[in-house]
Point group: C2
Chain length 439, copies 2
């Protein structure tokens, strides 16, 4: 049986399961799986996996144990009621293994009044499905599940192992994927279907959160010249950060960033200072996100910011005596860096081409994923490719284009077949033979 | 009996009542008369006034009635449990009347850990008395009470009426003084012993609070170039306000402001924007205090700021389409403006000189008081002069130099005598005669 026959079978299977796949996504979106409330959505996924006769492991990560890990970050210590799920589709042997990873947690819906539909309603409208998590990233997870189901139901046997993971905590720092890595799960390659809008991200921007505290001197507003405004001094710091961002980005020549005006941005997301309109504010706190390039370490990036702010402070008499304090807090995502010519990237590119009919866009992602942990900690080169609209993620009226979920499912199914190797489907004209991918 | 005999009697009386006066101030500081909790301190004052056989009126202002007044501002609607006190010392006739006004409310103590002593302990240390309200302005109120008591106990009869007021709500917008004005209290002159550190403020800076909302466009921090940072745009607004402040102050040539680097400052006291380190902030709110010159109207100053910000917005493509919104909220203090050569100012200056031995500093205050209401609404020219340290008011470790409380009491007592006119004290060598002040 030729690979084009297989592709046709997969394609037809997906066409036949369009309603069922849409329904599964709808059910998942209707489980508001915000941090701490992932159990119902995970149960749906576990049930689905079990119906495919896969071994399913379900466990609540041990926060106390994880807390000692260098790469652990979470705002919480206990994951009771927040299970991870791993299912394994054992290969027949001698094939390359793959790890498929999606996160089940979603960010909060925010102000419900900003939504046109119930944020957890899973409403379908003009080929789109709306709801928190539709793009980020239940749509991608459904693509994975459909790919696995198609392979199983079509009786396709893969040679390499497929490890499917539905993890918690990606939005809060990656403790779910870390817990799976600590259990020993790794593979020859990994795919995370975060919403890339079907672009292939072989590299991912890392990021970490910073907090900069700027000190002034309080005084009554009527004699403000007796004080030093921490707000005015914080403006110098914001300008300093703009200079640092420019400096860091001017070094980046990676062609994957060709279409990106600021490959590794520094975003000041929160400013807060002062507590009385009539007083000169003596403290301003800035909190933000520093992008980290794929080839950089978090520690190098931290050091560069601290030194830059220290240098900047020397040019202001007040800041020289009262240097801004830089801290790192909260979540951080390790950057990911896989060579765009890595064999797995080539398979994925080719299957995209074969399915969609044109070359995929290959870029570096402007945000972090759990892929950094997989690539750097689990030694599992991870590529990010999935359906869904980045711009809609984390905002009101998040949606996904349903067609893209099925396109991604087809690309993923064919990538599994090509990467892991396939025992040919038995039919009347074929002998049981090993199909070797040709690329 | 000569005026110098009277001065000597007052001076000696105050020396003899040093401990009693200090004790009264201590008792007042020990009543934490923050907004809503003024009753105990007011009761102390009422008891003291009644012991001097003065008519005392005590009433809780009617918030519903006041709310309709153009000059009303308070964060609360009801003043139940927050009484005003007025006492009247009726003159013998034909003299000029005077209104003495002190506020009993104190601002919150803030972080107790920043205080070396209990903020409501009234601790005495090296000639200073520490505590919230010591300078602002229970010390000044005690100076008034001592002056009245000295005059009464020395048997001095004044020709003009003296109206003493201990009011609530000065720190929150002047509703206590407004309530007394609405009741009809007015006089030929008024004195407020706010902490001027014994300087004479014939003019007072007015002020009002503004809120400026700056809008941006949200985006993920990893693609921050897809958004517009409200923090960066708010920096333009802060710079604009600095320009406006410069423009407004460059017009001021009043010699009373000769020693003041910024006669009418614009203070941005609070900044708040964004809610997630990884998101581009779409809103920043600035809150601050705009100083208003003595000769300016609040409306003119408001108009100038709105026009300035509107003009500034034209120079930025984003702000042009999304102009910052300027609002006025919360407290505002009407500026006060009394001619430094007003007869009452001359009497006060002369009595300061006679008591202290050198010319007083005459300035314009860098903050508002209830004096603006008295001068502009009650047609009662008000001068601000009192003991206490402006720089200590509203901050931890507020204190007052006790000597200054008694110096102010002496100046006030003699000013009452000279302004209101005195029936001479009967002694063996004098006939009952009217003493006319000579200036």
């Amino acid at each position: 049986m030729s690979i084009s026959n297989v592709r046709q079978l997969i394609h037809n299977w997906l066409l036949a399961h369009r309603d069922a796949g849409t329904c599964l996504l709808q059910q998942l979106v209707r489980c508001p799986s915000k941090a701490g409330a992932e159990a119902a959505a995970q149960q749906l996924i576990a049930t689905h996996l079990q119906s495919l006769q896969l071994e399913v492991e379900i466990w609540e990560p041990d926060g106390t144990q994880l807390a000692e890990h260098e790469y652990f970050y979470s705002p919480r210590q206990s994951f009771t009621g927040s299970p991870n799920i791993v299912a394994k589709m054992k290969g027949t042997g001698n094939g390359r293994s793959i790890l498929l990873n999606g996160h089940i947690d979603v960010v909060p819906e925010g102000n419900v009044d900003d939504w046109r539909h119930d944020p957890f309603g899973g409403i379908k409208e003009e080929g789109k499905l709306y709801g928190r998590g539709a793009s980020d990233m239940k749509g991608g997870t459904v693509s994975l599940l459909l790919a696995l189901q198609a392979i199983k139901e079509l009786g396709i046997s893969l040679q390499g192992d497929v490890i499917f993971q539905s993890v918690i905590e990606e939005e809060s720092g990656g403790a779910g994927t870390l817990a799976a890595i600590v259990k020993g799960y790794k593979a020859d390659a990994a795919l995370i279907p975060e919403p890339t809008n079907l672009r292939i991200f072989t590299k991912q921007q890392g990021s970490m959160w910073f907090r900069i505290t700027v000190t002034g001197r309080a005084a009554h507003g009527g004699t403000r010249y007796e004080g030093v405004s921490a707000i005015e001094k914080s403006m110098l710091v914001v300008q300093g950060l703009q200079g640092l961002e420019h400096h860091r980005n001017s070094r980046i020549t990676d062609p994957l960033y060709a279409d990106n005006p600021i490959p590794v941005p520094i975003n000041v997301g929160i400013i807060q200072g002062g507590n009385w309109p009539s007083s000169v504010p003596d403290t301003v706190v800035l909190e933000g996100r520093m992008g980290v390039a794929p080839y950089e370490s978090l520690d190098d990036a931290k050091r560069e910011m601290v030194e830059w702010i220290g240098e900047m402070a020397k040019h202001d008499a007040w800041l020289l005596e009262h240097p801004p304090k830089v801290e790192w807090f909260g979540a951080r995502w390790i950057p990911g860096d896989v060579d765009p010519d890595h064999e797995f990237a080539r398979v994925l590119r080719n299957e995209y081409y074969a399915t969609v009919g044109h070359e995929p866009k290959v870029e570096a992602s402007p945000w972090g994923t759990d892929g950094g942990l997989l690539t750097k900690l689990a030694d599992t080169p991870c590529i990010v490719f999935g359906p869904g609209v980045t711009e809609a993620a984390h905002y009101p009226n998040e949606y996904i284009v349903l067609d893209d979920v099925f396109t991604a499912a087809e690309v993923v199914a064919m990538t599994l077949i090509q990467w892991c190797g396939m025992e040919v489907i038995q039919d009347e004209t074929d002998t049981h033979d090993t199909y070797q991918p040709q690329d």
